[in-house]
């Protein structure tokens, strides 16, 4: 699956720097992701999605990138959507562009997951005052050059909420754009279970209290 995703990315975005962060996987993903022109990074132990994103962002900054697009490797995002996201950053109309599966056409979104994500967005709205329709989507375009303080410290899944916090704290201009999400059997099996969201909420609150 990762090879397919990378092939698509390379075909559609031949001039971009493609960074793959392997978060300590043991199933040979690291070897499979090794394709021409791909920058490959590996966490020697598993840290979590938030940590992997930040590693990728750090590396992109080191390579002198201005904009970073985060992209899930399970094939649920479309490489064709990237151009529109980057265009908004280039025109300086926003500092971060988030993808919403509810504005675009989402293929095969399970009903339960749909309402669940809507509730998550509502909670986020009440807690931060930032109004988004889809808070937990891995597809984002970020102007990292303008915001050196954009640092994700939540290693695991609560980084999505942390990003909303960062938007508020750093006063970033944000927009949401539709994007296509393909729910294949593969991406559904790899996605987090909804029960895990309870852990996320606890983690998030603890982080706020302890900091």
């Amino acid at each position: 699956m990762i090879r397919q995703t990378l092939e698509d990315l390379k075909k559609v975005r031949p001039n971009d720097l493609i960074i793959v962060v392997d978060d300590g996987s043991k199933d040979g993903s690291y070897q499979r992701a090794c394709m021409e022109g791909v920058h490959l990074l590996r966490h020697i132990v598993n840290l979590g999605q938030g940590a992997a994103l930040q590693t990728g962002i750090d590396y992109a900054k080191k390579m002198g990138c201005k904009y970073v697009v985060t992209f899930d490797s399970d094939g649920q995002h479309c490489a064709e959507d990237i151009e529109g996201f980057i265009e908004i950053l280039r025109k300086d109309e926003a500092d971060i562009v988030l993808c919403s599966r509810f504005l675009g056409k989402a293929e095969n979104i399970p009903t339960l997951k749909k309402y669940f994500l809507k509730i998550a967005a509502l909670v986020e709205r009440v807690m931060t005052g930032i109004s988004l329709t889809d808070t937990h989507n891995g597809f984002r375009a970020i102007n990292v050059a303008k915001f050196p303080d954009f640092v994700i410290t939540q290693n695991r899944m609560s980084h999505a909420s942390e990003i909303i916090d960062l938007i508020k704290r750093l006063k970033m201009r944000y927009v949401e754009r539709p994007c296509t999400i393909r729910y294949s059997d593969y991406s559904l099996s790899k996605g987090q279970s909804m029960m895990n969201s309870l852990n996320i909420v606890v983690e998030y609150i603890l982080a706020k209290v302890i900091k």
Partner: protein, 108 residues
């Protein structure tokens, strides 16, 4: 009664020895540990004292007072340990991230 006292004193002494002879304590911490040990040993040998102290605080039995104190102290220890785990986690993240960036490669 005497058996449980001996048992408690032995357990307490082992914990005390482990703590007193590990080198990661500062002097004032070690002195605190010693006084705490003496205090607990005293309570084990003369449980009636705990009852008096409990009565002073308006708590029925000395055992109750000790349970309340133990819960409070244990909660505090959990909080401190949690903070330490978080600090460790941050350090590990930094190490793993730096290694990942150092060993990054562009595939050919």
């Amino acid at each position: 009664m005497i058996f449980i006292k001996i048992f408690l004193i032995v357990v307490l002494s082992i914990v005390f020895l482990l703590m007193a002879f590990s080198s990661r304590y500062r002097t004032y911490q070690r002195i605190t540990v010693i006084f705490f040990y003496l205090f607990l040993a005293y309570l084990i040998l003369f449980p009636d004292v705990a009852d008096k102290v409990a009565g002073f605080f308006g708590i029925g039995r000395g055992v109750d007072l000790i349970i309340y104190l133990a819960i409070a102290i244990l909660s505090l220890i959990v909080a401190v340990l949690y903070a330490k785990v978080k600090i460790n986690e941050r350090a590990i993240t930094k190490i793993v991230r730096d290694i990942a960036i150092m060993k990054s490669r562009e595939c050919k």
